[in-house]
Subunit: 223 residues, 2 copies
C-alpha cells in the first residue's frame, strides 16, 4: 500500500543484474587502478607532486566494511535431500526440464526451493559423483586436480567485525563499499580480489531474512 506515495521506476531482472555487474566491474577496476597506482608510486616515491592526498582523504575512508554481497545460498533440508538422493539414485540422473519442475514442486512442500536449486543440485551431484568415481584413490601430490584447493587467498578481506555485512540495510549502506576498494591507502597489501559487491537478490524465506542493499524499501516481494 505504500506505493501510492512512491513514484517508482521499473527494472527488469536483467537490468538489475546488469547494474550489479557494472558496479562490480567498477569495483574491480578501482582495485586495479589502486594497485597500479601503488606500484607506480613505489618507483618514484620521491618526486610526486600530485595532490593525491585529497583523494585519499575525502573519497576513501570510513568503514573498511567489506563487500555487501549477500548471496546466500540455498540449503536443502534433510527431507529434501533425501528425496533428491532418492531420485538421483533411480532416475539415472537426467531429469529433463519437466522433471525439474515436478521435483521442485514436490520439494517445495518441504521447504523453500526453486527450480534452479534443483537443477544445480543435479548438476553438481552428477559431476561430483563422477569425479569421485574417477578418482577414488586420491593420494599423490597430483590428486588435487579438482576443486577444494582454492582456499588460498580466499581469506582476503573477510568480514569486518562490528556488524553483519548483510544487515538489513538502509540506503545509507549503499555507499559503504565504495570506499572499501581504496583501502590500499592503509597499505593493506595483500591481493584483495574481485569482489561482488552490490545488490544481490536475497530473500530469505524462513530465516531472519537478510536483505541486500536495497532491502525492504525496494518494495518488491520477489527479492
Amino acid at each position: 500500500m505504500e506505493n501510492t506515495a512512491l513514484c517508482g521506476k521499473v527494472m527488469t531482472d536483467d537490468q538489475i543484474e546488469t547494474l550489479r555487474r557494472q558496479i562490480a566491474a567498477y569495483s574491480t577496476i578501482c582495485e586495479q587502478l589502486a594497485e597500479m597506482h601503488r606500484e607506480t608510486t613505489l618507483r618514484q616515491e620521491s618526486f610526486t607532486g600530485m595532490g593525491m592526498t585529497s583523494l585519499y582523504s575525502d573519497s576513501a575512508m570510513a568503514c573498511g566494511s567489506s563487500k555487501i554481497s549477500a548471496r546466500q545460498r540455498w540449503t536443502p533440508t534433510p527431507m529434501q535431500l533425501q528425496i533428491l538422493e532418492s531420485i538421483f539414485y533411480q532416475g539415472s540422473g537426467t531429469p529433463n526440464k519437466q522433471g525439474i519442475k515436478d521435483i521442485t514442486a514436490k520439494l517445495a512442500e518441504h521447504g523453500q526451493i526453486s527450480e534452479t536449486n534443483v537443477y544445480n543440485w543435479f548438476q553438481n551431484r552428477r559431476a561430483r559423483s563422477k569425479r569421485k568415481q574417477a578418482n577414488p584413490t586420491q593420494n599423490n601430490a597430483e590428486s588435487e586436480e579438482a576443486e577444494c584447493l582454492n582456499a588460498k587467498r580466499a581469506r582476503t578481506e573477510k568480514l569486518v567485525p562490528q556488524s553483519s555485512n548483510l544487515s538489513p540495510v538502509s540506503d545509507d549502506h549503499l555507499f559503504q563499499d565504495v570506499s572499501s576498494e581504496l583501502r590500499f591507502v592503509d597499505q593493506d597489501h595483500g591481493g584483495s580480489r574481485a569482489v561482488y559487491s552490490f545488490i544481490d537478490a536475497s530473500k530469505v524465506a524462513n530465516g531472519s531474512g537478510g536483505m541486500a542493499v536495497f532491502g525492504n524499501s525496494w518494495s518488491n516481494p520477489s527479492w
Copy 2:
C-alpha cells in the same frame, strides 16, 4: 515483441538516486585514480616496462602445485566484461561474424582473448538471459506452501511498466562503456600506449531516448 516487462522490480526515485550516486562515486574515483596513474606514468614512461598488466586475470593459478600450465579456460577481465555487456545490451545481441572479429579485436586490448571466446560468450549470455527470464530466481515464500502457487503467478503479472506511476528503465546508458577510460589501464606490454579504438559496434541501439535513470549524471562526460 520481446517483452521484458514481466517480473520487474520497483525502485523509488530515492533509491535510484542513491544508486546513481554510488555509481557516480565509483566513476569519480576511477577517474581520479586513472588521472593519477596517467600522470604518474608519464613521468617515468621511459624506464621499466612495469609488469602491472594483469593484476587480476591470473587469479586461477598459484594453486600450490607446480602445474604452471596456464588455465585452460578463458576468463574475461572486468574490462572485457564491461565491453561485452555493453555490446550485448545495445539492442543487437546478435553479433554477426564480422562483429565478432571487431569485438575480439577490441577486447584483445584488454587481455588475452579469441574469437571463439567471444562467440561462446554471446551464445551463453543469450541463452542464460533467456532462461533466467523464464525462471525467475529464488522463489520467496514466507507464507505457507499452500497458496504459494497463486501468489507466484499473480506476482508475475503484476508489475507492468505501463502502470500510471511507473516508468520503465531504459537500457540505454545502463551500460556505459567504462572501458574507454581504461584503455590505458590494462594495455598490454606490447603497445604500452593508449590506443583509441572503439569498435563502434554500437548501432545507435534502440535509442529510446535518454532520460534513463542512470543516464546523464552517473558518469562524467569528461572521461
